[in-house]
Symmetry: C2
Subunit: 111 residues, 2 copies
Amino acid sequence: MTIANTPAPPYYAVIFTNLRTEVDANYGATAERMEELATQQPGYLGHESVREGLGITVSYWESLEAIRNWKKNTEHLLAQQAGRDQWYSAYKTRICRVERDYEFDESTQVL
Amino acid sequence: MTIANTPAPPYYAVIFTNLRTEVDANYGATAERMEELATQQPGYLGHESVREGLGITVSYWESLEAIRNWKKNTEHLLAQQAGRDQWYSAYKTRICRVERDYEFDESTQVL
């Protein structure tokens, strides 16, 4: 997993912060499938995902419409329901407009 | 680390995604001190921080002005410089306006 290579702002971010239950029930395979499916959606720009007890997944999108369409995707709706029923004890989803960004990469620094 | 208990939107988020070098040089103590210092800033609302190779720290703020003031904090400026010189091989910072959020908590569900 690396830093998502997003275009110049403005664009949109979905911050999905979550705590897992101890129920496995196909979680890994579904998470992988949702990742694959998300990257195929129109307007998908990239994502970053990390877990250390708490999980944070940030996905980046061209527009609010692209986010709405992904949220309504049939296979994704089933996964969301399974998430509430089985995999997550709690989560919070935040829909954001990215106004500005800046970055650093040591490999491109002039020494 | 748990899910930040933020107020109703709109508010602001800073998504700091980063990759570490192998240089330790007081990183842990400085990260802890920055966490302590951030929580004391006016307009600070909460934060979530996770590392699994890639690090994602999201901090939440009342206003863009609160974010600017934290960025300019003298002790924080020194840490930012040390971050570029020693601790991070790459990072990206995204300043966002949180437009909407929703959440799930199984402990508050009616069964």
